[in-house]
């Protein structure tokens, strides 16, 4: 090997060694990019497959501090995690209901009766302070409450719309138990829908189901 070739090889080897030494630093710089450099949440979408069903909760307060809470939970995640929680009233994805709080009403029998009944309005109360409506419509349980007790500007409105299949699944566990996992499983098979909407002068609460993880 000529001295020229040796010198060339040595230089090449040294350059390669230096380049190799700096490679991890570049990778580290990419890995540790500051959190603030990531796009704002409002622009962010998930990379999960579109078949995923997401339960969204959004609370917007119009009070001085203007608090906004956004929670996005994949139903599959909730279904998998709930059975592992065994604490207090929660066990195996089910939650125990305190009998004392339902005033000896057999909720399971009540749900079965509603399930077997035809569509219609079950409760209609129209008063000076409240309007309440509980109905079954196209296999949905619908609850509507309009609170008129306070001044008109402070009144609240609650709308709940839950598929009967989900209600059935919720009460499919033993007596005094709600089967959350079964309810979530049935819910994941439902189309996009708004489940709960609460509006008053200070807060807006929305709970809805869709296939997106897009923060509005």
């Amino acid at each position: 090997m000529s001295s020229h070739t040796k010198s060339f090889f040595a230089k090449t080897a040294l350059t390669a060694a230096a380049a190799l030494l700096f490679l991890p630093l570049g990778a580290l710089a990419q890995t540790a990019a500051p959190a603030s450099a990531t796009p704002a949440s409002s622009e962010k979408t998930t990379t999960s497959p579109s078949k995923d069903r997401w339960l969204h909760v959004r609370v917007i307060s119009t009070e001085a501090k203007g608090e906004t809470v956004r929670v996005n939970v994949p139903l599959e995640l909730a279904e998998a995690v709930l059975p592992s929680i065994n604490h207090d009233r929660m066990h195996d994805g089910k939650v125990k209901i305190d009998c004392a709080h339902v005033n000896d009403v057999d909720l399971k029998a009540l749900v079965a009766a509603v399930h077997n009944a035809k569509d219609g309005e079950y409760v209609t109360v129209q008063g000076r302070e409240n309007d309440v409506r509980v109905a079954k419509q196209n296999n949905y349980l619908i609850v509507h409450v309009l609170d008129k007790s306070e001044s008109k500007s402070k009144g609240s409105q609650v709308e709940i719309k839950v598929p009967m299949k989900v209600v059935d699944a919720l009460f499919s566990a033993g007596k005094d138990e709600l089967d959350l996992v079964a309810a979530l499983h049935v819910l994941s098979g439902q189309g996009d829908m708004e489940l709960v909407s609460v509006k008053d002068s200070e807060n807006t609460v929305r709970v809805w189901l869709d296939s997106k993880n897009v923060t509005e």
């Binding site: 080897a13 040294l14 990379t47 995640l77 993880n213």
Partner: protein, 145 residues
């Protein structure tokens, strides 16, 4: 000169392999700043792969003690992390008001928790695979019930 070059190439190659292995799971990044008298200022980066590796060298008694304390939460933590891994880029919780911003999300397969408040800032970034491995090791070391 040639000998020096060969030695440099050998050392460089070894360092690259070691570096690549150490950083293949990314880094755990913790930044805590408390803006008050005597407040903490903690900033550190740790190669994520080093944590489960270091746990192998931790005294068994200490691991069992930690696992016993966390026993109730370990299955839940593992289930959450296992499921979160299916959503490598997702926003889970965001709370904002006029002065504060709290966010829990996954970004590039890492759990990212950010708290920006007037009196403190907390930024945590940790690969989900590392949390999974750590909880798995703690579960394995938990004393039998």
């Amino acid at each position: 000169m040639l000998l020096l070059a060969k030695a440099a190439l050998g050392i460089g190659g070894t360092l690259v392999l070691a570096g690549a292995y150490t950083f293949h799971e990314g880094v755990i990044r913790v930044d805590v700043d408390e803006y008050r008298d005597g407040g903490s200022h903690v900033h550190f980066w740790v190669p994520a792969a080093a944590v489960p590796m270091a746990m192998h060298f931790a005294p068994q008694r200490k691991l069992m003690h930690g696992a016993e304390h966390a026993r109730e939460f370990l299955p839940v933590a593992r289930a959450i992390v296992r499921e979160m891994k299916k959503y490598p880029d997702a926003e889970f919780v965001e709370v904002t008001d006029a002065t504060q911003h709290v966010r829990v999300r996954t970004h590039d397969g890492k759990l990212q928790i950010d708290v920006d408040a007037p009196d403190q800032k907390v930024h945590l970034l940790c690969p989900l695979s590392t949390i999974d491995e750590v909880t798995r090791q703690l579960e394995a070391n938990a004393p039998a019930a």
